[in-house]
């Protein structure tokens, strides 16, 4: 017959994920069924191919970078906890969270962590700096073959010039935060169309 959920999520695990990511109980179970439906090999982890099977992701120009964000350095499989941890960056910030104890650990979907997620999309070699080369490569992914090397180069130069404040021709995370100007962070959240929440 073939069971779909090769194992059900235990209550303690749901609680732990809830604490770590801030998703609600029903959101976690829903995303767990999503995880298992993507897991074609039914071994409890997702590989890069599992992600690439999603057509809408495969046609995203930055699809590969986004998929990469789920996998820790040097690993090829991501389990459900890692999956949720990455998705948590895109959870909307609820109003009641803003008043929470400021000395508590920063939630995964805080403004800074959202910007860190975006920063890592650019930072290909994970050395905490965006070099001109890396920026060029990511730009090339976004525009395909439609813009010439010179034009793209000048766009990259201009961007680095505007953002770089300490003159090292790279963009550090702090420079990135200042340069992104994204005040309305709700732009970086996803609408979770989940039924019965």
């Amino acid at each position: 017959m073939g069971s779909r959920a090769s194992r059900l999520l235990r209550e303690e695990e749901i609680e732990e994920i809830k604490k770590e990511t801030g998703f609600s109980h029903s959101q976690i179970t829903r995303l767990y069924s999503r995880f298992t439906s993507l897991d074609k090999g039914e071994n409890g982890t997702l590989s890069r191919e599992d992600f690439q099977r999603i057509p809408e992701l495969a046609i995203n120009p930055l699809g590969d970078r986004i998929i990469n964000a789920f996998f820790p350095e040097g690993e090829d499989q991501v389990n459900f906890r890692g999956f949720m941890r990455t998705l948590a960056h895109f959870r909307p910030i609820e109003d009641n969270e803003k008043n929470k104890n400021p000395s508590a650990t920063e939630p995964l979907n805080s403004r800074t962590n959202k910007l860190l997620f975006a920063f890592r999309l650019y930072d290909l070699d994970r050395d905490d700096k965006i070099s001109r080369d890396e920026l060029l490569q990511v730009l090339r992914m976004m525009v395909g073959v439609n813009i010439s090397d010179e034009q793209l180069g000048s766009i990259a130069d201009r961007t680095i010039q505007e953002a770089d404040t300490n003159g090292d021709s790279c963009i550090s995370f702090n420079e990135f935060i200042k340069a992104s100007f994204v005040v309305n962070i709700h732009i970086c959240t996803v609408v979770l169309v989940l039924v019965n929440i």
Binding site: A5, P55, N60, I66, I147, F176, V182
Partner: protein
Amino acid sequence: MIDAENPQSCQNSWATLRIERGAKEKNHLLYKPYSNGRIIEPTSLEEEIKEIRRSGSNKDLDSATEFELSDIFYFARRGVESIMDDEVTKRFSAEELESWNLLTRSNYNFHYISLRLTVLWGLGLLIRYGFLLPLRVTLAFTGVGLLVFLTSVVGLLPNGRMKNFLSEKVHLMCYRICVRALTAIITYHDSENKPKNGGICVANHTSPIDVIILASDGCYAMVGQIHGGLMGVIQRSMVKACPHIWFERSEVKDRHLVAKRLSDHVEDKSKLPILIFPEGTCINNTSVMMFKKGSFEIGATVYPVAIKYDPRFGDAFWNSSKFGMVSYLLRMMSSWAIVCSVWYLPPMSREEGEDAVQFANRVKAAIARQGGLVDLLWDGGLKRAKVKDTFKEEQQKLYSKMLVGTQEDRSRS
């Protein structure tokens, strides 16, 4: 579940209408031949990125830079949204039910709830496997056996009215036995629109049972590839009694040959209407995916039919990567019942200035609307194949236009 999908379906049809209207205005060929014609919402990419820039930037937007680091958020968000839920992959596995229908196969994330439920389930198991299944299997064998035997007998008669009459009776009778074998409870709507000779009947495809359901209410000429084994025996005997269109495996690839045989068939008004499933593959009955344009190029009248199954009694979707034909049929025969509705829609023809792909999409939209299904432009072939790079390239092109377009304006000023 349907509620969650309605926003998407509205978005899809709205976007289709907008793009189609825009294309008509510019007289563009919107759907390139041999492409999947997927909507990449061109206007929304630009608008959303502009909104991201606007929401944060304290620069004057009229002198906007071509590129902002924050542009990446648009792609990141779209990507993560599609990871959380996408429109396509869920069409290739059985629909989730809101509440359990006492079949283990529909047991999706439901765990042990109460003793009473387990007892009910056990009772159901007994009834289904002990009583219903043997009964249905007997009926199935009878139906198929009679079909093969009687069509061969009818095939011995000389061609003429008597043969057609008998062939019709034989086919209908055997299909009705098969319907009983599955305990299919079918409601036919709008029978006045039933397909007539010389036309092509198109329907959405969920399982091989669709054929039995439609053929038990009317006579059709089937189209398909000739198989070996039992299937091949059935096909060969059927074609003795009345002309069906079976292709050899090698002929299937030859589009011209296929088109020629189909158009020859429809021109002969004495021949039965052709039954075709343009999706080309089984979809899980929550949506209608891209129709292959081959049948819409022929120029015959198209009779659309919408088939919608009620999943509470038994899920009819055939997940061919998970189950073979035999285990699928056994599952069907051990469900409670197959309940479905069939709507015969009014006939449609290709209009002036409409090409085959647009016509196919129009028919698809009508079927989706009637059956309460989501209308998607994605290709059902994505079940097995990878998506084409052209869609990624389209997005890249749109984004580049945003960047470079601004520069052109600036160099002009």
